[in-house]
């Protein structure tokens, strides 16, 4: 893990309040797994860093793509950073989705809203290993949809929206039985309610979920980001034991 002033090489709004930020620097070469994140210092006006998942990397160009949604003051301020500026980044952090170690043949990726980005790099890595990838991506409304074309290049894609303005009108879980070929493993990232619903529906197969919590240090030292676990240890730190966990490992509340 490094602290680095990374250079902004691209920065665009790609959907409603949703931005693509491409950063260049050495941190890129330390990224090992899809689902890892970086801890971004928006500016000195914000005391805490913001965790943002790595959505894709390009090792040759030493760039990583982050997709973020404006949720509050920090992400709003982030939108005003211009191409060419440098930004203080700590990373890569955490344990991502396992790719090599899982014996999956057909993976189901379930993303909700701003939980979709880390699944993109995951889908690429799975595809590169010859795994069949099917994705269900849920958004609030048509205006919020992003990355669909990118996922289509990697496998089948089903889109849902809460208001039915595009794709299926309803929840991601509605579509599980519409996937004709059986899948053997699931990978999911999104709001906690969604993670819970997905893991309950798919409790019969192995699954990996990526979680969110407010962070202090982002490196495992402060115990801000814990989630209760089923074993004797009793907890996991999202920033370093996660953010990705086996579905059976942690308690979703």
């Amino acid at each position: 893990m490094k602290r680095e002033w990374m250079k902004i090489v691209d920065h665009k709004e790609i959907a409603r309040d949703t931005y693509r930020l491409v950063l260049q620097g050495d941190i890129v070469s330390d990224v090992t797994d899809p689902g890892q994140f970086v801890h971004v210092q928006v500016s000195q006006d914000y005391y805490l860093r913001r965790p943002v998942s790595i959505s894709d990397i390009n090792p040759e160009e030493r760039t990583m793509t982050l997709l973020y949604k404006v949720m509050g003051q920090g992400t709003d301020a982030l939108t005003r950073k211009a191409v060419g500026e440098k930004i203080d980044v700590l990373g890569p952090g955490g344990q991502g989705f396992p790719v090599e170690s899982v014996g999956t043949k057909h993976a189901l990726l379930v993303g909700g809203g701003i939980g979709v980005p880390p699944l993109h790099y995951l889908a690429k890595r799975l595809r590169d290993r010859g795994v069949k990838v099917t994705s269900i991506l849920g958004f609030q409304s048509k205006a919020d949809v992003f990355l669909i074309e990118e996922f289509k290049e990697l496998g089948n894609v089903h889109v849902t929206t809460n208001d039915g303005s595009t794709g299926h009108h309803g929840l991601v879980t509605d579509l599980f039985f519409e996937i004709d070929e059986p899948f053997d493993t699931y990978f999911t990232c999104g709001p906690t309610v969604m993670l819970k619903a997905v893991s309950e529906h798919l409790s019969h197969i192995p699954g990996y979920i990526s979680m969110e919590e407010r962070m202090g240090c982002g490196i495992g030292a402060c115990f801000a980001c814990v989630v209760p676990a089923h074993d004797e240890k009793g907890y996991r730190r999202i920033c370093c034991d996660g953010p990705v966990f086996e579905a059976s490992e942690v308690m979703l509340t």
């Binding site: 602290r3 005391y47 240090c217 490196i219 801000a224 980001c225």
Partner: protein, 308 residues
């Protein structure tokens, strides 16, 4: 840059504050911990504690709130699994001791003091329901727990004071009288932030402890007041982010300085400040670090806005 305090030979006056540095391992990937003056570990309680619900942190202007709730693996696990790593580094180790009852404090102190250079007696954690802070807000209780821990401990005891009191000097004198070798101040100010969307406190525990630059003037004021009232050294903390801040704390009366939440902004902060300190001392006309300690009390330079 050397400072010598009871039980602690510091090669420089900079150390990470308790709870903001875990047991050091995570920061060892950023720099060699041997460069530190010392290290203060996360609080130790007798049994493993799981702490409060989440969210446990919230942002504030020039600071943050936390209510971790003393999550830690328990004193035995700390001795077995955490201290050995720190012992490989060439630095004094300070154990932060917490508890719900005087008995718990004493038990933890007995065990852990055999493995470290000093104790920091945490009678000021605002984030646990029982124990902790009531010891820090009542001079008599503070003296009682201090006396028993000092007796039980194999090493000098620094008492960590809560700033959430009407009269910090009374508490400081009480624990000095009870045998404390030094003071550590300040812990966090209790505060709250409310989420306008959910209309609820952001932190699950509702109340959290405010740390960071926001509390620096309160820390400086308290250290300045206590310095003249006691004869034991003070480890100062609360919003230290720069080498200038270190000088300000030491001028107020601190003999060494701990850095807490700033480690989250920049994991290299302790090392960077240590590197800058010699230059900063020179800039303000000091030739040794010890000269700075308490300078605001005995300097005779006339204050004013005079300029050449």
């Amino acid at each position: 840059m050397k400072v010598t305090l009871p039980g602690l030979d510091l090669k420089n006056p900079i150390m990470p504050a308790s709870g903001c540095f875990g047991f050091g391992k995570e920061f060892a990937q950023f720099y060699d911990l041997s460069e530190l003056g010392a290290v203060i570990m996360k609080a130790a309680t007798q049994e493993q504690r799981f702490g409060n619900g989440t969210p446990r942190v919230a942002e504030a202007s020039s600071g943050m709130l936390n209510a971790i709730g003393l999550q830690n693996p328990g004193v035995d696990n700390i001795i077995e699994r955490e201290i050995p790593f720190l012992q490989t580094k060439d630095i004094p180790i300070i154990a932060n001791v917490a508890g719900s009852t005087i008995e718990e404090y004493v038990k933890v102190a007995i065990k852990i003091s055999r493995h470290v250079h000093a104790l920091e007696l945490n009678i000021s954690c605002p984030n646990v329901k029982e124990g902790g802070v009531q010891f820090g807000t009542d001079p008599e209780l503070a003296a009682r727990v201090t006396r028993q821990v000092v007796e039980a401990s194999a090493v000098p005891v620094y008492v960590k004071l809560s700033p959430n009191v009407t009269d910090i000097v009374a508490i400081a004198k009480a624990v000095e009288g009870a045998g404390a070798s030094g003071l550590s101040m300040i812990n966090t100010l209790t505060g709250m932030r409310i989420n306008l969307q959910t209309r609820k406190p952001i932190i699950a525990n509702q109340i959290g402890g405010l740390s960071g630059a926001a509390i620096k003037p309160v820390a400086i004021r308290m250290i300045h007041q206590v310095y003249t009232a006691v004869n034991i050294p003070i480890i100062g903390m609360g919003g230290v982010e720069t080498a200038d801040d270190v000088i300000e704390f030491m001028l107020a009366g601190a003999s060494a300085v701990a850095i807490g939440s700033a480690n989250f902004k920049n994991p290299l902060i302790c090392k960077e400040i240590i590197d800058q300190l010699p230059h900063t001392l020179e800039r303000y006309g000091f030739s040794t670090i010890t000269e700075v300690i308490g300078g605001a009390h005995h300097e005779t330079v006339t204050a004013g806005l005079l300029r050449p």
